[in-house]
């Protein structure tokens, strides 16, 4: 049983389990948290899962967990692991089933008060036009050829077909496309699951949320991003849907045997991995890139439908309403990046599982107009609570391979949430606080009750004070659309 005594308190908000804690650890395991969040993490198996990730072959510096850490499967949610290329491993379980699950933020120059009379109409129209639920199917029906084009091109396909504005792609991680994607490594099962799901939200914690910009902490940076107090913002949280789930399933299952063939032994079978430069590793990476591109395209198509829907509702009522994209981030992904280790630039495979890339200022991967401020980082809170816009920092580049937290982090099981919260009552409570809810499942709503999550503000405070992100603005929800 792990306890606080197993950690060395390196500095404020940084705790470390030395590599000597367990024989199979290759590097120390490091957690970003205040004392309360550390003690919360010790109530489930997430710290054991963090320690397990420190055993992955090729891992460098330390296994990392963010303050929103909670128990997952294999990796903890909130985990970051970087392996040295070319021989370090890539782990499908370290990316997770919802490959490139992520968040997109749109903002308007219109205030929430201006659109408040039409909010119920907007929420209902969004719920009707943006299909939700795990098996939901979108209205965009793709041929086999078109689906493969989407897998290779991501958001660029959407731009070509008129579902994107070119500025959207500039404000998307990887510009909305990972070039290594190769659909021949994506199974027929995965194709079939994905074919009808482009432009769908999914269930669980995925959502579309209309927000008010409640507070700005850094006016200059916020203005650069066109984020102004009291204005309308819209968040989209979803991923690669059944296509990504199937790709992960295919490779986790296949690598059970392959990992053994490479002589890799691990404390948890969900951590299965293969050397990045092996042909099996390359096949997974190319398939993962396809799912990532599908997810970028999925959020782009939802963006198009959101713009179209809101425009229709506000036509003739509000002049010049436009939703401009602030950024789109992934929080389940393995990326090939260069980072400085012991004074040398080193190519790494950075796994972020429930963690967000947070590149600091002057990073060459960013579009020119964002290099001065660093990468925007989007942190959705639990339903009915605040969300945050942050930016990446030099501190994140030095400490966490340019990574930070991804959300609030669960503390209560879904089963317990359903036993203690009634969805109908929760919807009423949120309504009395001025938050409209459109949801397909009341039990699904109960699972996502705010009480089931940590305090997102506390999580954000930790990453900000630890120097691995900078606070720019806080958003508060006014309407939530869920599966």
């Amino acid at each position: 049983m792990l306890s606080q005594q197993n950690f060395v308190h390196l500095q404020e908000f940084v705790w470390e389990i030395p590599a000597t804690f367990r024989d199979d650890m290759r590097v120390p395991a490091r957690l970003y948290a205040d004392e309360e969040l550390l003690n919360t993490a010790l109530t489930d198996n997430s710290i054991v899962q963090l320690v397990n990730t420190s055993t992955l072959p090729g891992i460098v510096k330390h296994a990392i967990a963010m303050p929103d850490i909670h128990q997952g499967y294999g990796f903890p949610i909130g985990g970051v692991v970087a392996t040295r290329l070319p021989h370090g491993v890539i782990s499908p379980g370290g990316v997770g089933y919802d490959i490139n699950c992520g968040v997109r933020l749109l903002v308007s120059l219109t205030t929430i008060e201006e659109i408040r009379p039409f909010l119920q109409e907007i929420a209902s129209a969004l719920y009707a036009n943006c299909p939700s639920g795990v098996g939901a199917r979108g209205s965009l029906h793709l041929t086999n050829t078109e689906l493969d084009e989407v897998l290779h091109e991501g958001s660029r396909w959407m731009l070509r077909r008129g579902y994107a504005q070119s500025e959207d792609l500039d404000r998307t991680e990887e510009f909305g496309r990972i070039s290594e994607a190769d659909a021949k490594y994506v199974s027929e099962h995965a194709h079939e699951r994905g074919r009808g799901q482009l432009g769908t939200l999914g269930a669980g914690n995925h959502f579309i949320e209309v927000d008010r910009v409640a507070e700005v902490y850094d006016q200059a940076t916020a203005a650069h991003l066109q984020i102004y107090p009291d204005n309308v913002a819209v968040q989209i949280h979803c991923g690669s849907r059944g296509l990504g789930h199937q790709i992960c399933e295919d490779y986790v299952s296949r690598f059970q045997k392959t990992a053994q063939d490479y002589g890799i032994t691990l404390p948890d079978r969900e951590l299965v991995c293969v050397p990045f430069d092996s042909w099996e590793g390359q096949e997974y990476f190319r398939a993962m890139a396809c799912a990532a591109n599908f997810a970028f395209a999925n959020r782009q198509l939802l963006t198009h439908w959101i713009r179209q829907t809101v425009d229709q509702v506000l036509a003739g009522r509000i002049k010049d309403f436009h939703l401009r994209q602030v950024y789109d981030i992934a929080h389940n992904m393995a990326k090939i990046e260069e980072h400085e280790i012991d004074g040398h630039r080193v190519r790494l495979c950075v796994h972020r599982k429930g963690a967000t890339r947070a590149l600091g200022p002057n990073s060459p991967e960013l579009p020119a107009d964002l290099r001065a401020i660093g990468q925007p980082v989007l942190i959705p809170g639990s339903m009915g609570t605040a969300s945050y816009v942050l930016t990446g920092t030099a501190g994140a580049m030095q400490q966490t391979f340019g990574s930070t937290c991804h959300g609030a982090g669960r503390v209560m099981s879904r089963a317990k949430a359903k036993r203690t919260v009634r969805g109908v009552e929760l919807r009423q409570q949120l309504k009395s606080r001025g938050i409209l809810i459109c949801a397909g499942s009341m039990s699904g709503l109960a699972e996502e009750a705010p009480a089931a999550y940590k305090d997102v503000s506390q999580v954000v405070e930790v990453v900000a004070r630890a120097g691995i992100a900078r606070k720019i603005a806080r958003l508060e929800p006014v309407a939530v659309i869920k599966g």
């Binding site: 997952g72 499967y73 639920g133 939901a136 269930a203 986790v252 299952s253 059970q256 948890d268 503390v411």
Partner: protein, 143 residues
């Protein structure tokens, strides 16, 4: 879901608390019963499917390099079929079960849309263990 291991039939399943996802523990007198009971436990995690008069049957074969892989591949195939065919299964007949292969018939109903809220079955800490009643495994499901 039957959560009374003391009952006459030694096969049972019970949901286990998991912070972010769903999990269940399943027991069977042999591998065939474990696989069948696991399928029933998996579909019981979802809300009840709406009634439909349109009955369906699927016939599949499942392979795996060991018992755990066989179990995960089987359960994931059920999710795949439910999501792509918009069906919900509640009866499973297994035959020719070995450690690496079996045949299965899935019986259920056609729906307007898929109702499952489950994404995937994981290998997390998965081990099919020998127990006094036969075999036992705890399965974590990503939602």
């Amino acid at each position: 879901m039957n959560s009374q291991p003391g009952l006459e039939a030694p096969i049972s399943a019970e949901e286990v608390e998991h912070v972010a996802d769903r999990a269940f523990r399943v027991r069977g007198r042999n591998l065939a019963e474990l696989l069948e009971k696991a399928a029933q436990a998996l579909v019981a995690l979802d809300e009840e499917a709406p009634l439909s008069e349109h009955f369906v049957r699927q016939v599949i074969e499942v392979d795996g390099s060991d018992r755990e892989t066989l179990l995960v591949n089987w359960l994931n195939e059920i999710l795949y079929l439910e999501q792509t065919h918009h069906e919900f299964y509640d009866h499973f007949l297994l035959s020719d079960v070995t450690e690496n292969h079996f045949c299965a018939q899935l019986y259920g109903r056609q729906l307007d849309h898929s109702v499952t809220s489950l994404k995937a079955v994981t290998f997390h800490n998965l081990e099919v263990k020998e127990s006094s009643e036969g075999l036992e495994a705890t399965v974590v499901v990503d939602v």
